[in-house]
């Protein structure tokens, strides 16, 4: 057997041939990471009598669910995890533990440990993966560092539930997730745990506190310490007793596996159904950024064009999204599935991570029974087993679900007739009608609605036409942008896009040369934006957020026009540079839920401009 040892050191993988490797311990399944997903996977396999090893960096099971956020936020119901949630609640009473907003973290650790106590599962706490042994398309074994020294173990199958795809990275089967422009992942949150006197319970709050590369230990630790000094913590309420900061940051995105197939937001929006789902993930598409202008067109269409930020989306997750394409005996669980950056902001909720743990364990169990590579495990058996536990349920596939602001009635169906689209476009919550109009490409009706004596109808029709790349509503959009229309639609619970900003974005989508002059004039007037009357919400929590939104979207729109009109490139670049590259020019923005802490965005904006210019030049 020709075997290679692979080690990841300072971001580089080294590979050396090894002869006569022998392992002292062999496991049916080795699980990297006993966190939210890995602990459920381990319990599922161990309870089937399988011989399992968990390699866990912390000294407890459950990951963020035990160490930071105790309460669920979105994700779809059903699955084996609900059984353990019920046990946690039951046993909490027995031990006279205090009320917690969500599940008691210590009890979660304890229940998981009890479930594994009399099984063939070994847990190696305070341990980290050091290297792997590969044999062609399979991983034969791992080398891992423990408090008792370096150890080695072999396995039939491996589940990478490490939240950083550490196993797949060393195997060369993972990539850094992040947006195309600068590779930046979503912001992280830090979590404060406190006792709330009013409700007599332990709870937590979290604020976005910056960006971190979790795979770099010094940077990660540095951010935990630095985040304690965030000004938001000087405003702690008197009726709260702080118990401490979480030892884990709320990191939303890092590495993802290089899967057989990548799940992209484009497919999701176009309702491209998959035939073999293992479970459905459920959440809104929320990447927490305020520099939305630097994100993908697909995400901007959704959030800026349609104001669909809070709309819940159910997404089928199949085996191909969970299995690295270059490996036969590895499956991923948790937030490292094969997702594009946009979908990485969706498929990361704790319920869904737990379900992915169960799904991964079920695939491994079937593979162990049949002796097959993971990708060859037949779907029917998986479907039956996952349906039995509730992990897979068609009831969870609602496709889209309205998540309205307080006081607005929930819209229940989206398969709209022409009359319903028309009615929706006239309403304060036009997003779903606009989405339907966009998908159905009803451009003739939209054009006729442009002439109606109703501002909602005119602007919403013009926005949808722009998404269809039809410039019939061009003059409506120019007018909406120039008067900086401050109307805020109510499609989403929050994070709706001001109509003036949506119009600027839509003008970029149209890339009509005639828009370059008025948009450049608006950019020149950027200082006057701070005199506007602004309705603050979560997205625009500070006047500088408002200015940054306009400036960044104006720049994006202008650069898109330049991409399509080489004759205008020079004048547009010059116009932007005169303003944004001027030494006195600055822009800043806050992060979500942290409106008092301004971050300088000047450098990011300038880098974005340079990146777009380079990209435009390559295209030419």
């Amino acid at each position: 057997m020709l075997m290679f040892q692979q080690i990841l050191e300072h971001g580089e993988i080294t590979k050396e041939q090894r002869d006569n490797v022998s392992f002292s311990n062999h496991y049916d399944a080795v699980i990297l990471g006993g966190g939210t997903a890995g602990s459920i996977a381990a319990i599922c396999l161990a309870k089937k009598g399988r011989n399992v090893l968990i390699v866990e960096k912390q000294n407890f099971l459950g990951g963020v669910h035990s160490g930071a956020m105790f309460h669920y936020y979105q994700g779809s119901p059903g699955g084996i995890y609900e059984e353990y949630d019920a046990q946690i609640e039951q046993q909490k009473k027995q031990y006279r533990l205090p009320e917690v907003f969500g599940s008691h973290p210590l009890m979660r650790m304890y229940v998981y440990e009890q479930e594994l106590e009399d099984t063939n599962c070994q847990i190696s706490f305070d341990s980290a993966l050091a290297g792997i042994y590969t044999d062609g398309r399979t991983i034969a074994g791992i080398q891992y560092l423990t408090p008792f020294g370096l150890k080695e173990a072999s396995g039939d199958y491996f589940i990478d539930a490490s939240a950083e795809a550490v196993l797949c990275r060393i195997a060369g089967s993972a990539k850094k997730s992040g947006r195309e422009f600068d590779g930046l992942s979503q912001p992280f949150s830090n979590v404060r745990q406190f006792f709330e006197k009013d409700t007599c319970r332990i709870t937590f709050d979290n604020i976005d506190a910056g960006y971190v590369r979790q795979e770099l230990p010094e940077e990660y630790t540095g951010h935990i310490i630095a985040s304690l000094n965030n000004p938001v913590y000087s405003k702690w309420q008197k009726d709260q007793i702080t118990m401490g900061m979480s030892p884990l940051l709320g990191v939303r995105e890092g590495f993802t596996i290089d899967g057989i197939r990548q799940l992209c937001m484009d497919q999701v929006i176009q309702d491209k159904e998959l035939t073999e789902p293992l479970f459905f993930s459920s959440a809104n598409i929320d990447n927490h950024v305020k520099d939305m202008a630097f994100e993908s067109q697909t995400l901007c269409d959704w959030v800026v064009g349609l104001s669909m930020w809070s709309t819940l989306v159910s997404v089928p997750i199949d085996k191909e999204v969970m299995i690295p394409k270059a490996l036969d005996n590895v499956i991923a669980a948790g937030r490292i599935l094969s997702l594009d950056h946009d979908m990485a902001s969706h498929t990361r909720m704790m319920r869904d991570c737990q379900k992915s743990g169960e799904a991964a364990a079920t695939v491994v169990e079937e593979a162990l029974c049949l002796g097959l590579p993971l990708q060859d495990v037949p779907y029917q058996a998986l479907k039956e087993k996952l349906t039995q536990t509730g992990c897979l349920s068609l009831e969870n596939h609602y496709v889209l679900r309205d998540n309205p602001p307080p006081g607005r009635e929930r819209i229940s169906h989206f398969d709209l007739t022409m009359e319903q689209i028309r009615k929706g476009m006239l309403s304060d919550s036009p997003g779903f009608a606009m989405l339907a109009a966009w998908k159905m490409r009803i451009t003739e009706s939209l054009k006729s609605w442009l002439t109606e004596d109703n501002i909602n109808m005119q602007v919403n029709s013009a926005l949808v036409l722009a998404l269809c790349e039809d410039d019939s509503g061009f003059s409506v959009l120019i007018d909406t942008a120039q008067r900086r229309d401050c109307y805020l639609p109510q499609t989403s619970k929050s994070y709706n896009s001001l109509r003036g900003i949506s119009a600027v974005y839509a003008l970029g989508r149209l890339h009509n040369a005639k828009a370059s002059e008025p948009l450049l004039r608006m950019l020149q007037q950027n200082e006057t934006l701070i005199n506007d009357k602004v309705h603050f919400d979560k997205f625009i929590g500070h006047l500088q957020d408002y200015r940054f939104q306009y400036v960044s979207h104006l720049v994006r729109a202008l650069l898109t026009i330049a991409d399509y009109h080489p004759d205008l490139c020079r004048s547009i670049y010059q116009g932007i540079d005169e303003i944004v590259m001027a030494p006195e020019f600055t822009v800043s923005s806050t992060l979500k839920s942290n409106p008092d802490c301004l971050h300088d965005m000047t450098g990011s904006l300038r880098s974005y401009i340079q990146w777009r210019k380079n990209k435009g030049e390559r295209k030419l």
Partner: protein, 98 residues
Amino acid sequence: MPRAVIHDFPTGGYYILEMPVDTEMTYPQLRKQALELFSYTRTDSSDLLLKAADRICVRGRQSSVISDSNGFILCSCLSEDLLHAMERGEQFWRDYLC
């Protein structure tokens, strides 16, 4: 059998579970012990238990386990070293968190 005592500090009291010096316990065993002892040694219904046994501190032959922030402390023996460490920790909590 471990016994529980309460030590008061300026920002609150902490449970310390004293155990023989040579006690060797895994994290799951420590958590189990903490839960069981807390359930019958708790003196006040407002006492809170959120976490236990965050890290093991080893000082010579004396091994101890202390909580990093949340009030439940397990230790093998209540040494002067440990008390000083807790006092230093207390200062940290007061400065940054309280």
